[in-house]
Amino acid sequence: MTYLDHAATTPVLPEVLAAMTEQLGRVGNASSLHASGRAARRAAEQARERLAEALGARPSEVLFTGGGTESDNLAVKGLFWARRQADPRRRRIVVSPAEHHAVLDSVEWLATHEGAEVTWLRVEPSGRVTPQALAEALGDGSDVAVASVMWANNEIGTVSDIAELAATAHDVGVPLHTDAVQAVGQVLVDFGASGVDALTMTGHKLGGPMGAGVLLLRREAECTPLLHGGGQERDVRSGTLDVAAIVGLGVATVSAVHGRVERAAELRRLRDRLVAGVVEQVPDVRLNGAPLDDVVRSGPGRLPGNAHLSFPGAEGDALLMLLDARGIECSTGSACSAGVARPSHVLTAVGADPDRARSSLRFSLGHTSTDADVDALLAVVAPVVERARRAGMGRR
């Protein structure tokens, strides 16, 4: 099996498995006062401290959640409610149309049910949001509740200059949330230095468990809770802590961040080989997103493990199926709940026509990727593309 879908989820690291297995064998509610509870609490708090350190945050800024989706919902809705509560004129949300659905659908829910007004940010053809675009959209900021721009895009891998965007937002007094689910472990993510007010991350994209995530939230940021109950996590996210998952998440984050520089270099080497190899065999293939060697703030302007390619005349669906049948796993980027492929909203946001959007595949590399994986893809890509072109679905 050739797994080239690490942006969907990536294998659990052995050290995470070991740490979680050990923790799962223990009893203890981190809120209990007795010895078992104290031990559980100690494990969770150690994880919190290590994770905070790895991401340039203070431990009190780490809120454990049930994953990236929950963190995005909490940040967007919680900041919106709290800011509007403080000043009812703040009803506007400024957001990029290329965000993950966890952000987009939260914003749209607020627009439908809570009277929010949405201002969509202009996105560069590369997928990047510029400080100018953000400044224009914010205006004097007085009516803006919150802005949200992802650190790195999950489909096309484009990185935005989040520190610059946070400074732009703060110039007019608006808090900025960023979804850094894909960025952590691939590019340098320093919460404190970036200046953002809230940052989403999740465990299963960097070798941790699924269903475990974090919202990093500045201490002074007001955020209305979604979940009420026992008052855990600064009263912003109630619920008994999943200590084993938190321990695993902590170990995974520390590993991913500490090993980042070497791993990013290796991913980049493999990714560049993959793209060059495909171009050689399918000369009219087109790369979506920023150029491979793009730079933002002296770091990569494109995630080193991401290759997003359009194969003119072929359906992404057909390509996916033919590759799957040959043991190669990748993704078309976006699927609706019923599994029907729709042109990706990300590609639409960067101005790709529907045909280009429908003819694309995402290959994403991760910590277990090897040259053999790239070789396996290159061994079959030409005939697969040719066959998919002949199959041109539902068209006449």
Partner: protein
């Protein structure tokens, strides 16, 4: 063989896919997304292409350990089946959308794409027997679907696999239950899948609007009422005519004339026909020599009657019925069978009905029931 299993999410296609896997084939499942707006069918529980159905199909595929994909054929389905359905009613005919879907979607669009992707054939859960290129009725007479497959050509049949024709529906459910498929007890879908609430007249009214016209009594030529659109009527229909006539005798729709929007009605003695003309036929094997004797079925679940099939005008057929039939509507298929009690009646071919009239037995009362 490399087989593509069309999986609707129902029990039949689930068992068909399972039997294909058991037979040692390399099977891939696909669910056909046919509705343009998949959410709208969520509440219409029995549509064949709702989100739940896609989920049910996926569950079975996962249990079988086969790859599973959803193919979006909504555009093709709208053009070839839904628009055709509306246009046929608009023209005063009564279409069969399931037959059209088999012809244009499952065994053209899907089959073409399957072939291009390297599959040898498409397997479906239709209740019909298919062996040595011969299409025959299912052993389960009540569930037989050979009528809606009668339109398939030899090339299409050569790339079709129907594993269920040799067993009853009860046996299909048993197999599903033995395998622990959750769909084992799922209700059959009866309705037209794109009209999940079953209100065909309401659906057509939305598409075509109000187009009022007269209801005319065939015996007197008098206008006896008004209607909102000829699309609300099918030849042979008795209920819902919205008129009451003094003599208490039931009236039937005898004819629909779309240009003047006239719906002609009359008593049972006028409703029978014994001779049908058709459009050009399709044959499941080579074209047979005309004329020949056969049985003809004039609508889904209709009772077959003996007939003689001869050449007609414009490449069509003339079908002379041994017994007078009521409710023979233009647009429906006349599916021709060669009776065979042992191996199952053999489907010879079909042709769309153009006209139906009483030609040879003017004084005999209609014998067929509705």
């Amino acid at each position: 063989m490399r087989l593509l299993a069309a999986m609707s999410g129902g029990v039949d296609s689930a068992v068909a896919a399972a039997l294909a896997v058991d037979a040692g084939h390399d099977v891939t499942g696909v669910h056909l997304a046919l509705s343009p707006d998949r959410q709208t069918l969520r509440s219409g529980a029995r549509g064949c292409c709702s989100v739940e159905d896609a989920h049910d199909a996926r569950r079975v595929a996962d249990e079988l350990g086969i790859p599973f994909y959803v193919w979006d054929l909504a555009d093709r389905f709208r053009e070839d089946v839904v628009d055709d359905f509306v246009a046929e009613y608009e023209a005063g005919r009564t279409p069969n959308p399931c037959l059209r879907c088999n012809e244009k979607i499952k065994f053209t669009a899907v089959l073409d794409r399957a072939r291009a992707l390297g599959f040898d054939a498409v397997v479906t859960g239709h209740h019909a027997r298919l062996a040595d290129g011969e299409l025959r009725r299912s052993v389960d007479a009540g569930k037989d679907q050979s009528y809606v497959l009668g339109v398939l050509t030899p090339e299409q049949l050569a790339a079709a696999v129907f594993p269920l024709g040799g067993m009853t529906k009860d046996r299909v459910r048993e197999i599903a239950a033995e395998r622990g498929f959750a769909v084992a007890t799922k209700a059959d879908s009866h309705d037209i899948c794109f009209i999940p609430d079953g209100d065909t007249r309401g659906f057509l009214a939305k598409k075509l609007g109000s187009r009022p016209g007269p209801l005319v009594d065939a015996a007197t030529g008098a206008t006896v009422g008004e209607h909102d659109g000829t699309y609300g009527f099918t030849v042979g229909q008795r209920r819902g005519l919205g008129i009451s006539v003094g003599d208490q005798q039931p009236r039937y729709v005898l004819g629909i004339e779309p240009v003047t929007r006239t719906v002609t009605i009359g008593t049972a003695d006028l409703a029978g026909v014994d001779e049908i003309t058709t459009a050009g036929p399709t044959w499941t094997a080579g074209a047979p020599a005309l004329p020949f004797r056969a049985q003809v079925q004039l609508r889904a679940h209709g009772r077959p009657v003996g007939c003689e099939v001869a050449a007609g005008a414009d490449g069509g057929l003339v079908v002379r019925l041994d017994e007078v039939q009521r409710g023979v509507a233009a647009g429906q298929s006349a599916v021709l069978y060669e009776p065979d009690a042992e191996r199952g009646d053999h489907v010879v071919g079909q042709a769309a009905i153009r006209t139906a009239a009483r030609q040879r037995t003017p004084d005999r009362a209609a014998t067929a029931a509705d």
